[in-house]
Symmetry: C2
């Protein structure tokens, strides 16, 4: 089919008439579909039910270091859980603390602690006039919500195919002492599925921050979340790169099993330098006597090791891959060559990112809603919920069935076409006016 | 035996010579005993192993509201867990949020949130010159550590047999706007085992704070932790008292199953007014997508209801009661009538509180250590670790066996006698000088 931008006004009008007809038809169907939920589907969770058998009333509840996991103590987690989470992050177990069920909570607490008590002896951020964070966008809305909550000014950093625009990152970090951190999802990023290139990771490790309490918040949420056996992204391990670059304390890395075992009932971990760990432990010990070691033991016994986890994730991939492919196939078939949108084809993670024509995202999301298809709110992937181009839309294919995803994507492409045609017609009017 | 204060100098000297001999004998035994650990013993934890069978790979994982507990969502907890924890606190489930494994973490987060974001719209405490907390003492060291961590000034409130000195509490709360809270363990208090009287609870509920963001931190840690079937303390339910007194928002109540199921792997909850709950949820949603609902379901299925929990706690009582009695029996036998110490005889909770002669606690703890018996550090039960009278010592009988506790208490009373005699001799010298 002809690219929309090549169409005459008459052709566009005809196209719009046809799309309006299709829209009316679709509306009559009264669909109820949801492409917004970045969460596992029940079949994935069923794969993890063995976790509940990993411990029962006959189990030995001692951890590797001889600790009764049912009693108080061991602030930083049991050894076998540290090893498991360290392997997921490709770091040493010495650098790891295993927490409760949520890496988001760890990140929130790290920010909160920096606000009230500073970082490794620095001035608490609440005592400063201005604190800023760099926010590669499109990105994860819950990251942005945390920094917004603490009154931290957020600066948008455009994403490229190899990660955040590092020229800009280097400029801000080296020149502005108020810049205290950057949010990163370095592997299969939310929502684009981009994995940072080796060069990007090395440039992160070699940053020369104006603020000595600047930290990279490295949210490695999708470390083992591959969609394919034969095509997989790899991410350079950042802790050792930072160490090599003489910047050992510059990064906090986070991960969890929320999208591996059970969402909200998994285990979460942080990896960082020895100095940062000591700093964290000092305040952590005031907040808790210890995290849920029984659940840590359950996870360690169930997965055994990284290999066990990888095998488990192959089963997840088998379930969600067809859904990604269903979306991508409809997008390619219906929008290929039209020049009214671009989308990512990720090899892992939980999302597909769609880039509509400028100024069209909100309207597409609204039109989809009118047809009964829920999408993540346009703008959600940007700080303050404001996408400057109003073009990014996040598609979450995991929760519905592949059939539902195909059906929802049919609706989506219809709305993309309709909104794009209307936009082009408006632009044409504006030009002739 | 004669009270030490009635003894002549000569009698005291003779007494000291005998005690020195006993001390030397005891030292040769090379004991290794610990009376400091306020944690369950393994047999108590064994009683809870059925918890691990409450869910297995064949279980229905849906909560009462039809929520898949294995997936994201339901910020405030599943209905059955809310009911269970509400019943423990004797409040309505509507007033409850169920969190993760630690009530200490809830309290820390409530303080932290108040510091950074205020309380129900009040000025964040970090923006104030001075914030103060009332600290009934002796009390729980981890409470005091949190307020100290946030630079909150702590004011000691003496404990009485019916709870904190309410005249003082009322005075501070009504007169000083900087007073933002008070730490309370209202039932079987740590370390004295005191339960606040109905009058005390009503006076709390009727407080007229100068600060509108003043809150009572009501740590109901030992709500169902009775030692006896026939002799039990009861605590007036404070939320409804506050409501009746026109003070619905003045209290946050906390509890957990840490000393009911597994320590550190239980569930914890908060109860408060609807307005406070809304305030909390607003920030809670930034920190987490939801707590561990699988563990909530496991607890609800295992205990079923309050009755089930009470029956479970009878088994705990059967295990730890003999240990309390072993301590109390040695104390009575060896120190009764000597006038050199007083101690509490709690009907529940985890501790016995010993009051030595003024200026003797540190020395008693040091001497016990010399004989291989570890006690909680003297002063730990007071803000900043400073017991103004240097007289309170916390005894934790639950972890060792009854035999070990009796043996440790033998050492303890020996040290109490020796230090007391030395003190009386010093005082006599000082008087004649």
């Amino acid at each position: 089919m002809k690219a929309y931008s090549m169409m005459t006004k008459k052709e566009l009008m005809a196209q719009k008439a046809e799309l309006d007809r299709q829209f009316a038809d679709a509306k009559r169907k009264g669909l109820q579909l949801d492409m917004s939920r970045g969460k596992p589907e029940p079949a994935q969770l069923d794969m993890g039910m063995g976790l509940l058998d990993a411990l029962n009333s006959d189990s030995d509840m001692m951890s590797m270091e001889g600790m009764d996991t049912r009693n108080y103590g061991l602030l930083t987690g049991i050894t076998e859980a540290k090893h498991l989470m360290a392997d997921v992050m490709d770091v040493s177990a010495e650098n790891v603390i295993v927490f409760g069920n949520s890496s988001l909570s760890i990140m929130y607490d790290m920010i909160s602690r920096s606000v009230t008590h500073g970082v490794l002896g620095s001035t608490p951020w609440c005592k400063l006039d201005k604190v800023k964070f760099l926010c590669p966008a499109p990105g994860y809305d819950r990251h942005f919500a945390i920094t917004q909550h603490f009154g931290i000014e957020m600066i948008v950093i455009p994403m490229t195919a190899t990660g955040p625009d590092m020229d800009l990152v280097e400029k801000y970090v080296s020149e502005d002492e108020a810049v205290k951190g950057i949010w990163c999802v370095p592997k299969y990023s939310n929502p684009q599925g981009i994995t940072y290139s080796d060069e990007t990771v090395r440039r992160f490790a070699a940053l020369k921050p104006a603020a000595k309490d600047f930290r990279i918040y490295w949210d490695n949420a999708y470390a083992v979340h591959h969609l394919y056996e034969d095509k997989q992204d790899t991410l350079l391990e950042i802790l050792s790169e930072c160490e090599k670059a003489g910047n050992p304390d510059i990064v906090y890395e986070f991960c969890s099993t929320s999208k591996i075992s059970f969402s909200g009932a998994g285990i979460a971990a942080m990896a960082t330098s020895a100095a940062n760990l000591e700093d964290v432990k000092k305040t952590l010990t005031l907040r808790t006597i210890g995290y849920d070691k029984v659940n840590q033991l359950r996870h360690a016994r169930f997965f055994k090791n990284l290999e066990g986890m990888r095998n488990h994730m192959k089963k997840h991939a088998a379930i969600i891959r067809p859904k990604f492919e269903a979306v991508l196939s409809v997008l390619e078939e219906e929008l290929g060559g039209l020049g009214i949108g671009e989308w990512t084809k990720p090899l892992g993670g939980y999302f597909i990112s769609f880039e509509a024509m400028e100024g069209c995202a909100k309207e597409i999301v609204a039109k989809c809603k009118e047809l009964g298809v829920v999408l993540t709110g346009a703008g959600a992937t940007f700080p303050y919920g404001k996408d400057p181009k109003d073009s990014n839309i996040r598609i979450a294919p995991t929760y519905p069935t592949a059939e539902e995803m195909a059906e929802a994507t049919d609706v989506f492409v219809l709305c993309v076409k309709l909104v794009s045609v209307e936009k082009l017609l408006q632009d044409a009017v504006a030009e002739t006016a």
